[in-house]
């Protein structure tokens, strides 16, 4: 007996309420964007400069006591967040201290770290020294990192637009890119809404989401292209529905295996990369949704030229004859 998440044959109508789906997606994007505009992202030091120190203590962490200990040092904006993780033992109490970039120096000075260590050791005799990790990024580099990150995401989306355009038609490219923009905005939105730390690794996650969502979209589009040739008489909506239904089993299978892997990493992979993995889990879910309800719907909305009578035009666009 086989495990089947999706029945052999399905015939869901994905486009009976397509305006509603586009509306919902649009609304979610607006909510995400508003949240981003109002709250902004909780940028890590990669993007705004400053220092983070990871501390560990055998006793309960008293954030207030730490704050009182550090405040006489006059370091400006200091935030202390305790971190909880199922992989920590009972004597592992971990917190992150973030200190803003200091006037007049790019990266942290050794004296500052030493002083922070001294005052904290007074407040908490069980504190583990030297610190587990100290990371410091100067304002100069953080500015460049923001630029590079934005450029990377834009480049990825642009490259994909061109690739799909070459391999399919421009309507497909627009549909795919709309889905990507949707995924990226929703991911940034949830990071802003939940105020999860947004650092360089999250940009890597964003690009992976771009890759994954695209993977999904392309598989559906590939089938659409095939079916457009197969069912010349059926209208676009019907062809889209058939294609999505035919690929539904694969879509669900791949999402499930990817989520299985990511969830085990989320639970067991430790707190250092949890934000990164969270972004990817969210991206897989949103990306799967968007390839059906955004990419395909936009394709339906734009319409697609069905003139396949000129074979020469598309002959060069097929890999189907590649010998494997």
């Amino acid at each position: 007996m086989r495990l089947k998440l999706v029945p052999q044959h399905t015939s869901f109508d994905f486009f009976s309420r397509w305006k509603l789906w586009l509306g919902i997606s649009g609304l979610m994007m607006i909510v995400a964007f508003t949240s981003f505009m109002l709250q902004g992202l909780n940028y890590g030091i990669d993007f705004r400069g400053g220092t983070t120190i990871r501390i560990q203590s055998a006793q309960e962490i008293d954030v207030g006591a730490y704050r009182d200990a550090i405040s006489p040092l006059d370091l400006g904006d200091v935030s202390i967040t305790e971190i909880f993780d199922p992989t920590f033992g009972p004597t592992e109490n971990v917190a992150m201290i973030r200190i803003q970039a200091q006037e007049g120096s790019e990266a942290v000075t050794a004296e500052m770290v030493e002083k922070v260590g001294e005052v904290l050791a007074e407040a908490d005799p069980e504190l583990k020294l030297p610190f587990d990790s100290i990371e410091s990024v100067g304002p100069k580099v953080s500015g460049e990192l923001i630029q590079t990150a934005v450029l990377a995401v834009a480049l990825a989306i642009g490259a994909v637009l061109v690739y799909i355009w070459l391999r399919f038609e421009w309507q497909f490219a627009l549909g795919a890119v709309a889905a990507l923009v949707h995924d990226v905005i929703l991911t940034i939105g949830i990071f802003s809404e939940l105020q999860i730390r947004f650092d360089l690794a999250i940009i890597a996650a964003l690009l992976t989401i771009v890759g994954y969502s695209l993977n999904d979209t392309v598989v559906v589009f590939d089938r659409v292209r095939e079916n457009l040739r197969k069912y010349k008489k059926k209208d676009l909506k019907e062809v889209l529905n058939i294609s999505i239904n035919e690929t539904l089993s694969r879509t669900v299978m791949t999402s499930v295996t990817t989520l299985l892997a990511l969830i085990s990493l989320y639970v067991l992979g430790g707190d250092v990369i949890r934000g990164f993995v969270f972004a990817m889990i969210w991206g897989v879910i949103v990306g799967t949704y968007s390839s059906v309800f955004v990419a395909s719907t936009i394709l339906l909305w734009l319409g697609v030229k069905r003139d396949w009578s000129k074979p020469s035009k598309n002959a060069g666009n097929q890999f189907a004859n590649v010998d494997a």
């Binding site: 610190f131 993977n215 089993s249 189907a320």
Partner: protein
């Protein structure tokens, strides 16, 4: 149609076996690492029975390259430093002043008296009392300019002079600034490398980044602060009179003398006078060259005050040795052949060309030519790194088992084929990582886990397609064949797009993010390979043996 040529079959298995063999050392990481370290030590001449035993832990005929662990996994310090290249302009202009002054004084007739004006540090402003002599003055100053080697070729000189009223403004030319920046950064890089090598940590990464930055990563060091101390210590270069030479490190030096070891000759100690004649601060330049007899030598040049002291000393001590001492070690102790008046000299010895080049570098490398500003620093404790490795291991295994189970439940026998391919796939990723000497980081582990999840995608596409083809009542062989054929375009499109994003990540990212891009990119390559070649081969072999009338996917 289910035919695969024998040579293709052999090739596919060969690739798999080679990949897995390359990956094998990583399964015994500590053992192989110890063995490799011991082998290096033996090559360096430290040949003890313990070393031999450690080296024998891993047989020689097996591959022994390992995946490098990134700082976030191994612990260590990371520094990004910017070289303040403009510091050098200042000292260059200072050194230039006496020359300009003397040249203009010789032209007193036409330019009158000269007076140095206050100015920005990277320029010299000279006022002349007879402005009508300006054109002559400019001519004289420009006559001091030297040619600069540039990529564009001829025409560029190292200084530029222009007139502002009755003032001459002298600056380094743009071409010279570029050339100087490059030299400064290369010199700094060399010095940083030398200082870190002295500490003897394993596998430091010291790279130039962009035009004026240096990236320094040292695994296993306690903190970035410690690393900064190592780099920041100024090397002390001195020229001292030599009082004696011997092999006894405990020789009692006279008053005002000290005993220092020789850098190159082991067991040799020099007794030198503690007060140096000249120090490295007075050294302007050192270049590898040749003496009159064509033997490799090092020529050097002092600034004015250094030249005077050096000249006086060499005049009075012809025939006596003097020591070139760097950080309390004698680099060499040549004998003074004659009076050296001009502030420039030549060090001869039994040098090879390479040695003279190194000595020149060492002499120039006395002190950092410019200040370093640290833009970014990260310290990761070894325990945190170990925790990350452990967590990553557990997560990868659990992800692996979950995906394997799920695939077997969903596709039965075909799922098991896909699972074998998946295991080979992860092996191939590690094999490739070891082969290209890539660095595994924590996000890199995430990339592998993600690959485990996504790698089955290609197989899922194929299997789903075979199912569909079976529905339209085709024979099993035909259905399998069509399944592969029709799924191919979707597999290629989907993976090319993901690969594009991995390439962009690699090009734009740095450090850990780049590690993620590498595993993601390699994972795409290996998963496409295993899906369209390895599982297919397994299915074909199975099909040939069994010849089933019916198949269930």
């Amino acid at each position: 149609m289910l035919q695969i040529d024998t040579w293709k079959r052999v090739l596919i298995w060969l690739v798999c076996v080679t990949g897995l063999l390359m990956a094998l050392p990583n399964a015994f990481y500590t053992r192989v690492e110890q063995s490799n370290d011991a082998k290096t030590a033996i090559e360096l001449g430290i040949d003890t029975p313990e070393m031999q035993a450690e080296a024998a832990q891993w047989p020689n005929w097996l591959p022994s390259s390992l995946v490098n662990l990134g700082l976030d996994l191994r612990g260590g310090a990371h520094l990004l430093a910017e070289v303040r290249v403009s510091d050098v302009y200042e000292s260059r202009m200072e050194a230039m002043w006496p020359e300009i002054r003397d040249a203009l004084r010789d032209e007193r007739e036409s330019v009158g008296t000269i007076r140095k004006q206050a100015s920005e540090p990277d320029e010299i402003r000279v006022r002349i009392s007879q402005p009508e002599g300006m054109s002559r003055a400019l001519e004289v100053v420009r006559g001091l300019a030297r040619q600069v080697q540039t990529l564009t070729g001829v025409g560029a000189t190292d200084i530029e002079a222009r007139a502002e009223g009755d003032t001459i403004v002298i600056q380094l030319s743009e071409a010279e600034k570029l050339a100087s920046d490059d030299r400064t950064v290369r010199q700094s890089l060399e010095i940083v490398r030398r200082r870190i090598d002295e500490v003897g940590t394993r596998e430091p990464t010291i790279q130039r980044q962009g035009t004026d930055r240096i990236l320094i990563q040292v695994p296993g060091i306690g903190s970035a602060g410690e690393l900064k101390d190592i780099i920041g210590t100024t090397a002390q270069l001195t020229f001292n009179p030599v009082a004696g030479r011997g092999t006894d490190p405990d020789a009692v030096p006279g008053i005002g003398e000290e005993v220092v070891p020789s850098l190159d000759e082991s067991g040799v100690y020099y007794t030198i006078e503690s007060a140096p004649v000249v120090t490295g601060e007075d050294l302007v330049d050192a270049q590898p060259s040749f003496n009159q007899n064509g033997q490799p030598a090092v020529s050097f040049r002092f600034n004015t005050s250094g030249a005077r002291r050096f000249g006086d000393y060499t005049r009075d001590n012809v025939g006596a040795p003097f020591a070139i001492v760097l950080d309390d070690e004698v680099i060499s102790a040549p004998v003074i052949n004659q009076h050296i008046p001009g502030g420039s000299g030549i060090i001869t010895g039994n040098f090879t060309v390479e040695e003279s080049t190194n000595l020149a570098v060492l002499l120039r490398a006395g002190a950092l030519p410019a200040r370093l500003e640290f833009l970014e620093e990260r310290t990761i404790g070894p325990e945190l790194g170990q925790d990350s490795i452990d967590a990553g291991k557990v997560a990868t295994i659990v992800a692996f088992v979950a995906v394997l189970t799920f695939m077997a439940l969903s596709y039965g026998l075909f799922g098991i084929f896909a699972n074998i391919a998946l295991i080979i796939n992860v092996g191939l990723i590690f094999g490739l990582l070891s082969l290209i000497g890539a660095t595994l980081t924590l996000p890199g582990i995430a990339g592998i886990v993600l690959t485990v999840g996504m790698a089955v995608d290609a197989n899922v596409l194929i299997f789903e397609r075979i199912r569909e083809e079976l529905k339209s009542a085709k024979g099993p062989a035909r259905a399998i064949d069509l399944g592969y054929e029709k799924a191919l375009s979707a597999i290629l499109d989907a993976n090319v797009t993901t690969f594009i994003t991995a390439v962009i990540l690699f090009a734009m990212g740095s450090g850990p993010v780049r590690g993620f891009a590498i595993t993601l990119g390699l994972g795409i390559l290996t998963s496409v390979f295993t899906a369209i070649f390895v599982t297919r081969l397994m299915i074909v072999i199975w099909f040939e043996r069994r010849r089933p009338k019916m198949i269930e996917v």
